[in-house]
Amino acid sequence: MEDKRKRNLILNGLLVGAFALFLFWAQVNLDGYKIQIMNLIAVNIILALSLNLIYGFAGMFSLGHAGFMAIGAYTCALLIMPPLQKQALFILEPAMWPFSVMHAPFLVAVILAGLMAALAGILIGLPVLRLGGDYLGIATLGFAEIIRVLANNLPRMTNGALGFKGIPDYANIWWNYGWCFITLVIVVRLVNSNYGNALKAIRDDEVAARAMGINTFRYRLTAFAIGSFFAGVGGALLGSLLTTIDPKMFLFLLTFNVLMIVVAGGLGSITGTIIAGVIITVLLEWLRIVENPITIGEFYIPGIPGMRMVVFSLALLFIILFRRQGIMGRKEITWDTVFALFRKRGVEK
């Protein structure tokens, strides 16, 4: 038992070290487009892990990710843009105090972005989760829409429909993967702890969980707030990575992308989320091709915007129809399963 823990600790250290070396290599050798995709992968994994915590492990169907991301992105952007830049940026109406003057380093800004999102999560969770969680989907969907409308209509805070341009691009590969690593460690710790067992118990049988002395409302609320925190962090990183944000960016489609990763990877599987995060991010980029005009011989097919979402919606439908548990189901790839695989191979030889 103890030996195994030590072994896993060492192996995990080696894996993280190897991955860091890979990032060094990538930074030097890969072109900007590929680096951008790698960055998006990190951000998407953060977002999907946070949704998996909420939906997969705690069993709360939430459709509010775009809203939490928007809160995170706007909070962070307002904090990292220097006051002078904001003066030039707010052309509809001047920025309101304190948004006009506040300024903070990137790390602080991302943490505050997460905290603001968590606060929003608590504010919706307080009334809605009291009802037992059945209405969370619809309530969070409405919440995300409200956030977007607010972003459109509070020009002194958000610059209205114009949004922000030229947000400092601090979110490089190290920040993104650093946060991805932190999210991963925290979510893994949580779901593998006895606290995580309690969350899964609430998901599996709420009545029995209550009979075991678990305050299901409080546990759900906490898990929802932690998930919202990392959705806010993901939004903050995304804003800085893309350097522009506006209300249109935070449509339901954004939530849908994250949901797709979680469902495809497997509700309640962390390794599944990581695998699906990589695959789907790459596919989403790659499928941009289908939206461009294509000429095949004499035929000219005009680009159809939104085509890749059609493709993806169909893919999601197929997953739900034919492999509802996703790539991994609730299973995980661990060092044990990896070794077991090798051992089996060895025997066959």
Binding site: Y195, A201, V207, A211, G213, I214, I226, G268
Partner: protein
């Protein structure tokens, strides 16, 4: 029967669902360290009594006292924390977890470290997690399921699932244990084992036990005092001999079944 400290007392507890009175003026006193029973025909209101005692239903009228404290209307988790644990008539295990995890969830209630200790990977968290794991393992050992610790709870045979549910309830460190038809679906051999087992855990964990049971052998075999419900009304109470001889009980409940077996 010498009189002892009262652990649980219900006073004129009534539960109405719309026009239906499921339980009418249910009043019992349970003495410390006893095994007592609640019997009655199907739909008599036994499980409803359990649901009121454990906070799942709020009584329409009446009050419930546990260790001298009025717990009427408390939420289930608070009642469990106060020291009342239960099992369910239709076994309710956490299907997604292993046997050990099911017991650990029961033990979670008494755990001091929580989510932020886990998040920050504090040493106190790892230490307590290990203690909880060991404690849960010991409980599984006590109910004879230690060898199945890492199996999926869902896949266990019926009798083992019942035992696991009891182990999980014990993990909450109760003083008062409610068992809803623990022998249901068991063969005579398993039932005999279960009776010994219930007596055993009562001694070992210093419990008071209230159980609902249809199997008269179990009820008459281990209960020191019995209440009989019929259509929500308490029609008799007393020790096994008295209940067996009570004409009202024989008519309402023991009736055919009892006479056939006798």
């Amino acid at each position: 029967m010498t009189s002892r400290e009262i652990v649980l007392e219900t006073k004129d507890v009534t539960m109405r669902f719309g026009g239906l009175t499921a339980v009418h003026k249910f009043s019992i006193q349970v003495q410390k360290g006893r095994i007592v029973g609640l019997i009655g025909p199907n739909g008599a209101g036994k499980t409803t009594c359990f649901n009121m005692i454990t906070g799942f239903y709020e009584p329409t009228e009446g009050s419930i006292h546990f260790m001298g404290e009025d717990i009427t209307g408390w939420p289930p988790h608070k009642i469990c924390k106060a020291g009342i644990a239960r099992t369910f008539q239709n076994i309710r295990l956490f299907a997604g977890g292993t046997v050990l995890q099911n017991v650990m969830v029961g033990a979670h209630l008494r755990q001091k470290t929580t989510w932020w200790h886990a998040m920050l990977s504090l040493p106190s968290f790892f230490k307590e997690e290990k203690e909880i794991r060991e404690k849960s393992y010991e409980l599984l050992d006590a109910v004879g399921l230690a060898h199945l610790a890492s199996e999926e709870a869902q896949g266990l045979p019926y009798g083992a699932q019942r035992r696991l549910e009891i182990a999980r309830a014990l993990a909450t460190e109760p003083r008062f244990l409610l068992l809803d038809e623990p022998a249901a679906g068991m063969n005579p051999h398993e039932t005999q084992e279960l009776m010994d087992f219930i007596k055993q855990i009562k001694e070992k964990f210093d419990l008071t036990i209230l159980l609902i049971e249809h199997d008269m052998k179990v009820v008459m075999g281990i209960c020191e005092h019995i209440w009989v419900l019929d259509y929500g009304v308490t029609i008799a109470e007393g020790d096994p001999e008295k209940i067996q001889g009570d004409p009202k009980v024989i008519e309402a409940y023991l009736g055919e079944e009892y006479l056939q077996n006798a």
